[in-house]
Structure formats: structure tokens, C-alpha cells
Subunit: 250 residues, 2 copies
């Protein structure tokens, strides 16, 4: 399929505000020309924002449960968080429920995190100018910071196993809302995400209840996590990737 | 990336109404479990609907301009239509402007068509139960027929060079609107497409003017084509793929 790929390039007349709706579409973007925001609302990037806000020294995202286990074998005093299909993997300290990322649990600690979708998106974005983490928790702080950077912005939705999901797209649309009037040029996906945000913003929790992912997570008994992840602006920290570690941006 | 792919399977409790937002996401779907509707509003599938309505015996979609030329060398009395990046390729009878698909030009003829995006989506969908062609031109006829089939439905947006575009998604949302209340289970992309259709349906032409693709096509001087392609229900023919040929469904 490579001969059908058209690399998206930012517009010549302004900075880009583009949305990559799933990691499967990342090969269509020249990632190195953007600051990338990775979005995995339920629940990886919400928990990362909360954990960094609460003083975690670093969060190390890994793709595979085995990589996470490897840190235990190194004998380091790291907390190990592993989740697959929305559940904590046996033998790990916790999964990616935001309630595991309180100051009491993570302050001063390094957490090694493996998740189904968020880590995947992060790893595929590695060549970006900078990679930061977004969620409703840090929406305004993140958006204000983005505007000070004067760079092209690519909002990467982690989706669900490479397919589109509504909650990550809705958040991308919320960031686009903040960028309006600042001279950014949106692509079709950014326009769609913003229109969906307009439809859902009155009651995001209610809007997302209809989604397949919402149904899936409800079955896992994590409605409280979902409510938590939809709180807007309860944190100000912006997690940024430095090497292999997510740390607080200074 | 194959180990991250999760094949979408239709729900056990009902028929699926799923939307594949770009051909790049087709590997995520078990295509053989669906009737596929291929959508390339500007302009391939609109022109195909119009041509079949106007009595074209068949339209043969091909991926490459070279494949199209090969039909001339065979000495067959076929009309050859080739377009790249929205323009007629030198030496061909016409491109994919719908105004080339009038009864006067195509009645009784076979047309060999190569297009940037639509043919690509068609070829990738080959293992489907059936492949039909959709556009605003045949929206209601298509939707009524789909409901009589009692099968899972996958609406495949051709997009723009494998990325998302608004016009194809909006049409997918219009079909989903017709399927409401008929027991189909939508996925997140279907819900999003329908919400976008709700936003844009009051004046689809105006809504789509903001898109990048609309801008691109405007530069090519084909605003009249765009207006034509956004006419709802001016045809009733449903083109269906039989072997390598699109013909009128009987």
C-alpha cells in the first residue's frame, strides 16, 4: 500500500493543527515536523497526567507486559503497572486506573506502564519534535502551552486497537477549540473532531455513554474511572517524553 | 504492527452498521462478513452512479493509468477515463467529472475508469459478500436496498490518499441515518459519521466548503462538479461489482 501513501505536510501559509484519528494513520504524517500530543482518554493518558501532577518522578511507557516485568528483574524500586484489555495483569502493582496514581502512591516514584493503546501511539510518534501527553485533566494548561510553541501540532488519538474511537477524537476537538483564532490551519480530521466536540461538549459523559468503548469499559466495572477521566482542568502538569521517560515539563 | 490489529467482528446480537473511515483501516475489518458500500463522493462514486443510471453497460474500475491504457491496446470499443490528482490524464477520453457520464456519452458503452482514491478502496474490499457503490445521487435507493439484505454493512470511505476526509464520512453518516431504528448496531465511527451528518445536513455544500479537499478541488476549477455530486436522490441505480465490472444491480 506504500505507493498510495501521501505524506501530510503542514501548510506553507501557517502552522498546522492536524488530527491523526488512529495510530494506523501515523505513517501518513511527517511526524518529525510536529509537536505530537498523545491522547488515550480511557485511561492511559489521563492517569499519566494525574500521576505526573501528583509528583511521580517519571512514568516509563512500554509496549509489552514482558518489558514491564523486566524492570522488576533489574531490582529497581519501580512501581509496575500493566493492563491488557482494561484489566490489571496478575502480579503487577496496578493497571492504569487513575485512582492508582494518587500522591500517596506515586510521589517520588518511577512507574513503568504498559497499556493496550496509549503506549503504542507513543512509540509510533518517537520521531516528533516533542511528545507531550494530553487528557481532559490538563486540557487548558496543555492548550496554552501549545500556543506558546509556534509549531505545527499533531494530535494523535490512540484509539482502540488501531481503530477510531469517539472519546480520543472528542478531546482532540477540545484542543482544536482552544487553538481557534490563533492562525492554525486544521485538516479535515481536525474539523470533524471539533464538530464532534461541539455536539458532545454539553455533557461529554452522557455523549460518550453510547460508544462501544464506553460499553466495553462499563462491563469491566470502571464507570468511576470514566467519570474521573472526563473531569476538565483538575491538573496543570504537562507530561513530556524525555528519552524513554515521561516527566513533568519545566 | 500486525500484533496490534484487532479484527472488528459484527455484534452477536444484531447486524452491524460499521464505517471504515479510510482504506488504510480496512485491514481492521473482516471484510468477508459484510456487504461493502464504497464511497468516493468527489467524484468517482458519484460519476459511477450517474453513468450506470444513464445506461452505461459497465464501468471497470482499475488502479493504475497503465491498466487503463492496456484496454486501448486490446482494441476494444471502450471509453477510457483516467484521472490523477483531480485532472484528466493526457490522451484519455475523460476523467471522472460526472458531466462526462451523460446518457449521450455512455449509454450502451463500457467505461474503464482509474481514479486516485475510489478504485483503491474497491480493490481492497474485494473479499466482501457484495460490493455496491454509494453517493448522494442514489442515497435513498441504496439505503432501502441495504435494509432488504439483512446483512452486516460496512461503509468504506475512500478518503484522500488513505487519510480521512469529511465528504465521504458525511455521506456514510447519511446512510446510517436511514438505517436507524432497523436494529443495526453502529460502531464509534458510524456514530461519529452520523453526528457529523447532523451538523452538516442543513447545507452540505456550505459545510464542505471549509474542507481541505473542497479547497483542493476548487483550485482545479470543478465547483460545478462538486455541486452536482451533492444532489440527493437524482438516481435510483445501484452499481454492483460483478467480477471486475460495475454493472446495474437487477
Amino acid at each position: 500500500m506504500s505507493n498510495n501513501i501521501d505524506i501530510q505536510t503542514p501548510p506553507s501559509g501557517g502552522r498546522a493543527a492536524h488530527v491523526c484519528l488512529t495510530p494506523a494513520l501515523l505513517p501518513l504524517f511527517n511526524v518529525e515536523e510536529y509537536i505530537v500530543v498523545v491522547i488515550d482518554i480511557f485511561r492511559a493518558t489521563s492517569s499519566i497526567c494525574y500521576g505526573i501532577e501528583n509528583g511521580a518522578e517519571a512514568i516509563i511507557p512500554v509496549s509489552q507486559v514482558e518489558e514491564c516485568s523486566a524492570y522488576r528483574e533489574k531490582g529497581l524500586d519501580y512501581l509496575l503497572a500493566a493492563e491488557r484489555d482494561g484489566k490489571v495483569v496478575d502480579g503487577f502493582d496496578f493497571g492504569n486506573s487513575p485512582f492508582s496514581y494518587t500522591a500517596q502512591k506515586v510521589a517520588g516514584k518511577t512507574v513503568v506502564l504498559t497499556t493496550t493503546n496509549g503506549t503504542h501511539a507513543l512509540h509510533l510518534s518517537r520521531s516528533a519534535k516533542k511528545i507531550v501527553i494530553g487528557s481532559f485533566l490538563n486540557l487548558t494548561a496543555l492548550s496554552i502551552w501549545l500556543k506558546t510553541q509556534h509549531e505545527n501540532i499533531l494530535l494523535v488519538c490512540a484509539g482502540w486497537k488501531n481503530n477510531f474511537n469517539l472519546e480520543d477524537t472528542l478531546f482532540a476537538g477540545a484542543v482544536i477549540e482552544h487553538l481557534k483564532g490563533e492562525g492554525y490551519v486544521p485538516d479535515d480530521a481536525a474539523m470533524a473532531a471539533n464538530d464532534l466536540f461541539q455536539v458532545g461538549k454539553g455533557d461529554i459523559n452522557q455523549y460518550l455513554k453510547k460508544t462501544s468503548h464506553g460499553e466495553r469499559l462499563k462491563k469491566l466495572g470502571i464507570e468511576k474511572d470514566i467519570e474521573f477521566c472526563l473531569q476538565v482542568d483538575i491538573t496543570t502538569a504537562i507530561p513530556v517524553l524525555q528519552g524513554e521517560r515521561l516527566v513533568r515539563l519545566v
